[in-house]
């Protein structure tokens, strides 16, 4: 495979935008991305879009050409990818595969979700469709409930504490407060996080990511052509997408996401690096427990030590390996279909040294981990300076 680079990034703010529709958000991100790369829409040879549930949230299908048309991208393959919360991570994986294989030189990858036009119980029901509706869904499982059951088991097996879960939320809110595009720019205390309204025990509202509207886009190209467009190409050093059972009750051990472990191993191998060499990461903290498990599954810490790792400040903005400098899904927001590509934008922004108040000192090599459902899809990407 020939090396691939990210040559443009663009994001909307994430939040609850009553006056914005899905298409306008996706078009805004796409236009920002093309402007960032200095590439015109006529050069784009394919448009890959990640979107989880546009048809359910806003009643719109056939989304990829619908958005491409708004961007002036015509007459090329425009395809929507759906892999629950890893929809745009999956779109990015397939776009990198296509450019790497030599099919195209310029592929625009977008991600979008418009969630806030539905009331919360309806959103909860739509999100539950990322699980097994014939089993856990029929019994009344919600996504917070699935991750609550994961948290309970992790606490039981490894002694992970409520305070360690809350520490993830406190850290991510501290980071998100410094991110101008974040949904909830609010610092919270450990006491607040612990006293939050219960959603699915032991998780409170502060353990759950936000219901958000938003979009993100990246433009990828062969590395050998990247410098025609930017002085700061970001190299895709390694990438992998893997899968596992959709139903949580079919997994042998729910305290680990096997798909993440496998995707991580493949991505590390492709990049020729070890977990120790990853300087920072954006991980999929759809719930606080998911960030703790991500640290373990990606090899940043030993199994069972993910809670302590966060609690001790190892992943703070000024820690040895900052995690979710963007604020994560917890504070930045989680417009489901936009999250995977949004993470790529956030990692690329740090590598380019453009993260402003959140800029970290060591930013040559970073990782993005995007999770679909309760772990049935995982995408791990390693990005670095070219």
């Amino acid at each position: 495979m020939r090396p691939v680079a990210v040559i443009g990034i663009g994001k909307t703010a994430f939040g609850a935008f009553a006056d914005r529709d899905l298409r306008s958000l996706a078009v805004e991100a796409g236009e920002k991305c093309l402007a960032d790369a200095g590439v015109s829409a006529s050069k784009v040879e394919a448009f890959y879009l990640g979107n989880f549930a546009g048809p359910s949230f806003v009643g719109q299908n056939h989304l990829a050409p619908y958005i491409a048309g708004g961007l002036g991208i015509m007459g090329v393959p425009c395809t929507r990818f759906e892999a629950a919360c890893a929809s745009s991570g999956s779109a990015f994986f397939h776009a990198v595969s296509a450019v790497g294989a030599g099919l195209y030189d310029f592929v625009l990858v977008g991600g979008v979700e418009k969630m806030t036009s539905q009331p919360t119980p309806k959103v909860t029901e739509i999100l539950a469709g990322a699980g097994d509706m014939a089993g856990e869904g029929r019994a009344g499982a919600t996504f917070p409930a699935l991750f609550a059951m994961i948290a309970r088991r992790h606490m039981y097996q490894y002694g992970t504490t409520r305070e360690q879960l809350a520490a993830v939320a406190v850290k991510n809110h501290a980071n998100g407060a410094k991110n101008p595009l974040a949904h909830m720019r609010k610092v919270i205390t450990l006491e607040q996080a612990l006293a939050g309204k219960p959603i699915a025990e032991p998780l409170t509202v502060y353990d759950c990511s936000l219901i958000s509207d938003g979009a993100a886009a990246v433009l990828i190209a062969p590395l050998e052509r990247a410098r025609e467009f930017t002085n700061q190409p970001v190299k895709v050093m390694g990438i992998a997408q893997t899968s596992d059972h959709v139903a949580l009750d079919q997994k042998d051990d729910i305290t680990t996401f096997r798909a993440v472990v496998e995707a991580g191993k493949k991505a590390y191998k492709m990049a020729g690096v070890s977990a120790n060499e990853i300087q920072f990461a954006e991980v999929h903290d759809c719930f606080t427990i998911a960030e703790i498990i991500a640290g373990e599954d990606l090899g940043f810490v030993k199994k069972g030590e993910g809670g302590r790792y966060v609690e001790q400040g190892c992943t703070a903005l000024n820690g040895p390996r900052p995690v979710n400098t963007s604020g994560g899904l917890k504070s930045k927001g989680h417009p489901v279909g936009a999250t995977g590509v949004g993470q790529i934008c956030d990692v690329a922004q740090q590598i380019r040294g453009e993260a402003g108040e959140r800029q970290i000192a060591r930013h040559d090599i970073g990782l993005a981990q995007n999770l679909g459902g309760s772990g049935a899809t995982a995408v791990v990407t390693i990005l670095g300076v070219a």
């Binding site: 919360t120 119980p121 309806k122 909860t124 029901e125 539950a128 089993g135 856990e136 029929r138 019994a139 009344g140 499982a141 919600t142 917070p144 409930a145 609550a148 059951m149 994961i150 309970r152 088991r153 039981y156 309204k197 219960p198 959603i199 699915a200 025990e201 032991p202 998780l203 139903a247 949580l248 009750d249 079919q250 729910i254």
Partner: protein, 70 residues
């Protein structure tokens, strides 16, 4: 299926329910490891249960299995 026995592998109490179950909230949901080895997701009837508790199938409502403490 009736009379299944098992052990609680994990559990939660759901406060924020999906639209169709809002009237039931809060309710307890669990993954049960059946004595035969398989796992299934079930609702809990009666007293709250914790990881490791022995449970038996109590009833099935709308094809949803309900378990209770053994």
């Amino acid at each position: 299926m009736a009379g299944m026995k098992g052990t609680i592998y994990t559990e939660t109490v759901i406060h924020a329910a999906p639209e169709q179950f809002v009237k039931d909230a809060p309710y307890q949901l669990a993954i049960v490891t059946l004595d035969e080895g398989k796992r299934l997701t079930a609702r809990i009837a009666g007293d709250r249960v914790a990881i490791g508790d022995q449970v038996v199938e109590a009833e099935s409502r709308d094809r949803i299995p309900f378990f209770k403490k053994a």
